[in-house]
Amino acid sequence: MKNIITLLALVFFTATMTAQIDRSKQPQAGPAPKINLSEPNTFQLKNGLKVMVVENHKLPRVRIQLDIDNPPIAEGNKAGVSSLLSSLLGNGTKNISKDAYNEEVDFMGARISFGSQSAFASSLSKYFPRIIELMADAAINPNFTQEEFDKEKAKIITGLKSAEKDASTIAANVQAALAYGKGHPYGEMTTEETVNNVTLADVEEFYRSYFVPANAYLIVVGDIEFKEAKKLITEAFTPWTKAVPPSFSYSEPKDVQYTQINFVDVPNAVQSQVVVENLVDLKKKDEDYLAALIANQILGGGGEGRLFLNLREDKGYTYGSYSSLGSNKNSKSRFIAEAQVRNQVTDSSVVEILKEIERIRKEPITKEELDNTKAKYAGRFVMALENPETVAAYALNVEKEGLPKDFYETYLERINAITIEEVQAAANKYFSIDNARIVVVGKGSDVLENLEKVSFNGKTVPVRYFDKNANKVEKPNYEVTIPEGVDANAIIEKYVAAIGGKQALENVASYALVAEAEMQGMKLELEMKKTANNQFMQDVKVMGNSMSKQVLDGNKGYMTMQGQRKDLTEDEVNKIKEESAPFPELNYLAAGGLTLEGVEVVNGKKAYKIKVTDNKTVYYDLETGLKIQEVNVQEMQGQQISQTLILDDYKEVSGVKFPFKMSQSMGPQKFDFIVKEIKVNEGVTPADFE
């Protein structure tokens, strides 16, 4: 009887419990779990290295991290030197050969890796004593060799090539370069050219200057007793010589004066990378740091952010749209709102992202949004504590960023105290709508037409064009196609006809030209003479003094550069010969081998692009037939340098049209030569070519 009652009671109990589950209501959270925030054990070596040890014996393993907290470093025309350093570190030491070193680390099933100012190792705890020795030895006594250097350099260059067409790599590079400027450590670009400038001595110099203990932290987390760790670390790292890295200041990066689209054409892209960015001056110790984080979180911090809900969940434009807000104690950093979207919706995505930025600035967020976001931060904080490395990371932040000692103990309280007004103030301070750069990287022929029509708040957003190295370029043009039946020879023939006809050109046995340009207030004078018999003379004078002169007479010649005379080599003779004819086009027609490469817009005019040789490309105006541009690629000291010559203002002299304006540009320099005089079949004597 008693049993039956119990049984009934049990049944009843279960039934009521089941009935109490109302699945139409979201379950409420239980009482908040207790948080335990411990602190690492610390000590400092005489050379300045600060050490933090977090004991955690859950698993028999140890992780070691070396973090050298130097200010940002500009690598300039040697950008890539730090990447090379990180690949060269950890290849053995002065005491152990590379092969023996790698074999020993691998044999223990451990890992050791290096950055240019960092190192990381992990192993089972039983191998810790040896791993810390190996790590310190590689850090303090690196084994730099020319052979390794050459190999790593080749790999970096191949790696750069492999990313050349990758829209996201291009986008990331250009976004940083435009925001910070290419002279700033965060904006500079590593290219094949800059990597080629780096020598092994540069890497060694970089190592000596920056791989030093003054700003260094060593963090050890895992199954190790503090006393034991202290002894082993002290032994291993005491030989590291005390030194302070040099420090530099950089020009302060600035936002654009008005919001604009910066477009980079990547013809193979099947998606556009859209980023709205501006600079922020934000440090972790700032009063409004947490409010700013919350504002960013609500705008685009994840799958429940406004950007994601709008661009992905509502519109299906993208796989994800997010924002991020940087903070940096040394420099300005960036706010970024981004999405990778399909080509057709590139323009709409720009508008939607701008709308969301404006909304969070103008309208207060709701209480629900604020509460939800606070809960998210609290949860994240709690969950991070599962990882023993969190304790070390927090302690490291307090040290590096100069935070109050109790920054993390009071973290949840301070998150909780943030108000709607503080979030809006932070949004207004850190997210820009009037001085934003909208960097779009994508397939211009698909997206540009609509992108140019983007308007926001009733104003059209201007579009500026850049190449993948963040250099300003002309607007790309996609509309023109080559008319049927047109080939390279026909274009040359049209050009010949346009400047006077074959007969008139053949009558020109020689001509002499004088032109002038200005360079930083100085007058530059150009004198050029050509004959139909492989004779050529070009003299550039600055304030009346010859700066560079080239002379060719048949199969020999010379050049002088600032007074230094040198005979031309056979190669150089042949090069100049190609250009020495009064009208090289006549030779092109005879020799053939021209390739019509397409139609491009040159200085606003549509032009046929003809490849004459691998190093020379010439552009002829689609309408007038005139030659409007030449691009020559030259090899100088192992580098490819491209020279552009723009021809304009054609005028007739003795029945033949000559360009009276010639603009020569090479790298950042540009000279506009205005022709003062052209003489045909006079003013040239054999003595000019001696």
Binding site: P60, G109, E313, G316, R342, A378
Partner: protein, 440 residues
């Protein structure tokens, strides 16, 4: 003497410590066939709730590829009690995180919460299993999102199509021949009826496993599980009967183009047995031997000494019915793909023809011991391993015993298995080249 024994004890404790991390768990079935695994670890106030469904890319009919992955998206759209678009907000506003992923064989959904939100995690997953809202609006939105995902991950991404090329060339009949994400025309062709039918067939308790791991109290958790998952109706048994492949007996050469790359890549690929087979574990060891670490054979030869390769890697891509084994390399400078391919074959041939050295064998064992210690370092990771071991390998306790399999593999067995699966006439050579358009 006393001092000696203390040290001895300490060293025994040290020696045991590698075993001491045994993952404890409890498992049982609900009446509707849902398998439940609980793992208690109260060291941090965090709990993971996860469901793995035995449905993946391979579970489809011709002309309807990519459905499992599509469902990964669709089943976040909302349920009878969770408004459309609110899922992520509920999770994050309660301090949690969540995600999902799909392979050719299974789909995994999970949440991680501070442990006071265990009930919420169970509610979310039970809602998803019991009555997800599947309608045209959600289907249309998620189709677009999946297409963007495909563009982002594959079409617009350097070397992003490599895995698809691999599947296409290693399989002729089995569904592994088609991409996990599916063909976009198949997604477009899928009707609401197709989608609903797919849900009813695969997303049922008897085709799934629920794992709750972390800071929990066992009895209380069991009760909550019964309350939330008990009422979900059982589905029909899932039957799979996919065509078997004929063995590859002659070397195949395939060429593919990728518009996003400048540097070509080469792959030497082999079809190998499914991951449950002992031989698959042996092949794992072979790939570690070939390319894990700077002293590994392929890295040392092709990257370090001969400077021919920018990168080289041997991968065992584990799958349920057949695995894919790939040795992948990128050339430096002007090195030809042929020269990389012959360099790779030379090293693979050595594994076939000679016993690996005693020293290398010990190194492999040390590496796998290290991996084993690290594999169970987070509760989130443990939850995923428990689900995988039960649902796909059919043995939950593998989480503690997998290391024994590796330990029992001998040098002779390594040679034998290499001869069984990694011969040139069983391989597909893939020339993956830069091109104007991506095609394969």
């Amino acid at each position: 003497m006393k001092k000696f024994s203390l040290t001895a004890l300490a060293s025994i404790a040290m020696a045991l410590s590698v075993q001491a991390q045994e993952v404890t768990f409890e498992e049982y079935d609900l009446d509707n066939g849902l398998h439940v695994i609980l793992h208690q670890d109260n060291s941090a106030p965090v709990v993971t709730t996860s469901v793995m469904y035995h449905v993946g890319g391979k579970d489809r009919t011709e002309g309807r590829t990519g459905f499992a992955h599509f469902f990964e998206h669709l089943l976040f759209e909302g349920t009878k009690n969770i408004e459309r678009g609110k899922w992520f907000q509920i999770v994050s506003s309660n301090g949690g995180k969540n995600n999902a992923n799909t392979s050719q064989d299974r789909t995994y959904y999970y949440e991680v919460f501070p442990s006071n939100n265990l009930e919420l995690g169970l509610w979310l997953e039970s809602e998803r299993m019991l009555h997800p809202v599947i309608d045209q609006t959600g289907i249309d939105t998620q189709k677009e999102v999946v297409k963007e995902e495909k563009r982002l991950r594959y079409d617009n991404s350097p070397y992003g199509s490599f895995l698809m090329v691999l599947g296409k060339n290693l399989f002729e009949k089995h569904p592994y021949k088609d991409p996990n994400i599916g063909y976009m025309e198949d997604l477009d062709a899928g009707t609401l009826e197709d989608v609903v039918a797919y849900n009813e067939k695969y997303y049922v308790p008897n085709n799934a496993v629920l794992v709750v791991a972390g800071d929990i109290e066992i009895n209380e958790t069991k009760k909550m599980i019964k309350d939330y998952f008990g009422p979900i109706p059982k589905g029909a048994a899932v039957v799979r009967n996919y065509p078997l492949e004929d063995p590859i007996t002659e070397q195949k050469v395939a060429t593919a183009y990728d518009a996003n790359i400048q540097i070509p890549a080469t792959g030497t690929a082999y079809r190998i047995p499914g991951f449950k087979e002992r031989d698959a574990y042996v092949l794992d060891m072979i790939s570690t031997y070939l390319s894990d670490g700077k002293s590994s054979k392929l890295y040392k030869k092709l990257v370090d000494e001969e400077k021919k390769a920018l990168q080289v890697g041997a991968f065992n891509i584990p799958q349920e019915d057949y695995g894919m084994y790939l040795v992948f390399a990128l050339p430096v400078g002007e090195t030809s793909l042929e020269s990389l391919q012959s360099g790779i074959e030379e090293e693979v041939a050595k594994v076939r023809n000679e016993l690996i050295s005693e020293n290398d064998y010990q190194k492999l064992q040390n590496k796998f011991e290290n991996n084993f210690v690290n594999s169970n370092s987070s509760v989130e990771g443990i939850a995923s391993s428990l689900a995988t071991n039960y649902l796909l390998y059919g043995d939950t306790s593998l989480i503690n015993k997998e290391i024994d399999i590796y330990r029992s593999i001998t040098r002779e067995e390594i040679k034998e298995v290499a001869n069984k699966y990694l011969k040139p006439n069983q391989s597909v050579l893939i020339n993956y080249l830069p091109g104007e358009k991506t095609e394969f």
